[in-house]
């Protein structure tokens, strides 16, 4: 690793001030950033740790019935504390990485990084959640901007994520066994206004909504409703773990499994 300083502010305001300096970079749980620093893929002058800020941690239920999760909340905490309100989200969190990674990795860190194979982007886009930052609210549909790219501006901090709780939902992940990321993951959520389907791991454009499946499932929420649909292989990720055709096939398979399990 190149040398850098670490600052550990205890309020959002202090963190935002620290991040305003050139060369400063936010540090969530570090489960992606620290390995990247070891590979010298990043060279910040200063890391601003967001894990000592009490107002950015925890899970609660808003008056509007949304599950609200602080940006610096660890996956293990979401798995434990969101289970009663939003079991599909808790189940997703309980299968990220491994137990020790879940004790450090945070929801805000995952969403700010927007790895194309991460699990949380599927839940956020699949529920139409709202990303709250230190300066504004961003709708899920406006947030994701291709792999490793988001609507966040320099120094902007994800302080909270608000999930509208669906009538029923499920996340199915086809695990890439070495990394435990999603080779393909599909989040399906049914609301009074219709069904949302979000796919991670598959596309070179990052997480995306599968509009045809949403329409079919909004008309009839059953795996059979997906029978005639298919996902084009064009634009899907191809690597040693799977071809674009394989991933396109998996999208439908995992969507059907998610509907059946929801």
């Amino acid at each position: 690793m190149y040398a850098f300083e670490i600052e550990r502010p205890t309020t959002i305001a202090a963190a935002a001030a620290a991040l305003a300096h050139d060369g400063a970079q936010a540090l969530g749980g570090g489960q992606t950033l620290i390995p990247s620093l070891k590979q010298r893929l990043a060279s910040p002058e200063k890391l601003v740790s967001l894990t000592a800020i009490p107002e950015m941690r925890g899970v609660c239920l808003s008056d509007a019935g949304e599950v609200c999760i602080g940006g610096a909340t660890a996956h293990a905490t979401v798995a434990a504390e969101a289970a009663a309100h939003f079991p599909a989200l808790a189940a997703l969190a309980s299968h990220i990485g491994d137990p020790a990674v879940r004790n450090r990795g945070t929801i805000g860190g995952s969403l700010a990084n927007n790895d194309p194979s991460a699990c949380y982007p599927a839940a956020v886009l699949g529920t139409g959640a709202t990303i709250i930052t230190n300066s504004r609210s961003i709708a899920a549909d406006d947030y994701f901007d291709g792999m490793f790219s988001t609507a966040l501006t320099e120094g902007e901090i994800i302080t909270e994520v608000r999930f509208p709780v669906p009538q029923r939902a499920n996340y199915q992940k086809f695990v890439q066994p070495a990394s435990r990321f999603a080779l393909v993951g599909v989040f399906v959520a049914q609301y009074a206004g219709g069904v949302r389907v979000a796919v991670t791991g598959a596309s070179e454009g990052g997480v995306f909504r599968w509009a045809e499946a949403e329409a079919a499932l909004s008309a009839s929420f059953s795996a059979a409703a997906l029978e005639g649909l298919s996902v084009p292989a064009e634009g899907m990720i191809g690597d040693l773990h799977g071809t674009p055709e394989y991933r396109a096939h998996l999208v439908k398979v995992m969507t059907k499994r998610a509907v059946a399990a929801a």
């Binding site: 489960q31 620290i34 390995p35 137990p99």
Partner: protein
């Protein structure tokens, strides 16, 4: 360089570290607590698992300065007060839960975290919990057996193959 203070195995400790100093390097290099191992240094193998404020974490993927003020427990803190092996350590010895022993510190710390939350896990739960702890010698059967035994369960039928 920055001063960092924490409690390790019940004892207040401090040292001067760089921002980039990993918790595992502070434990091994500054405190000479070399029981915590560095296997892969890429967060995958789990040989470096320690407890920070009661939660199992990979000490190679956390900076020492992030543990400021924390309660840290390492494998050196797992023995009984009289120096004899703790229950989980003794079970690893009794059931041959190690060969070369390199992964064992992390295995024991992960097992301790599991048994704290889930005092009588099923075999499947033990195996799932060890997803982030890699052993290259034993094939895991005796490790699982040792953890089941440490939880007070009959292990005669476990991993008999």
């Amino acid at each position: 360089m920055t001063q960092v203070s924490m409690t390790v195995n019940g004892k207040a400790v401090s040292g001067v570290v760089e921002g980039r100093t990993l918790l595992v390097d502070f434990l091994r290099g500054n405190l000479r607590l070399t029981g915590t191992h560095v296997g892969c240094d890429t967060s995958q193998c789990g040989a470096c698992v320690v407890h920070v404020d009661g939660r199992a974490v990979k000490a190679c993927t956390m900076f020492a300065l992030e543990a400021e003020g924390a309660q840290v427990r390492t494998i050196e803190g797992m023995a009984n007060a009289d120096g004899s092996l703790g229950v989980i350590q003794q079970a690893f010895q009794d059931h041959h839960g190690l060969q070369c022993g390199f992964c064992t510190p992390g295995m024991v710390m992960s097992a301790a975290a599991l048994l704290k939350d889930n005092p009588r896990p099923t075999e499947a739960e033990v195996r799932a919990h060890l997803e982030g702890n890699i052993c290259r010698c034993t094939g895991y059967h005796n490790i699982v057996k040792a953890i089941m035994a440490a939880s007070g369960q009959d292990v005669a039928a476990i991993a008999a193959e």
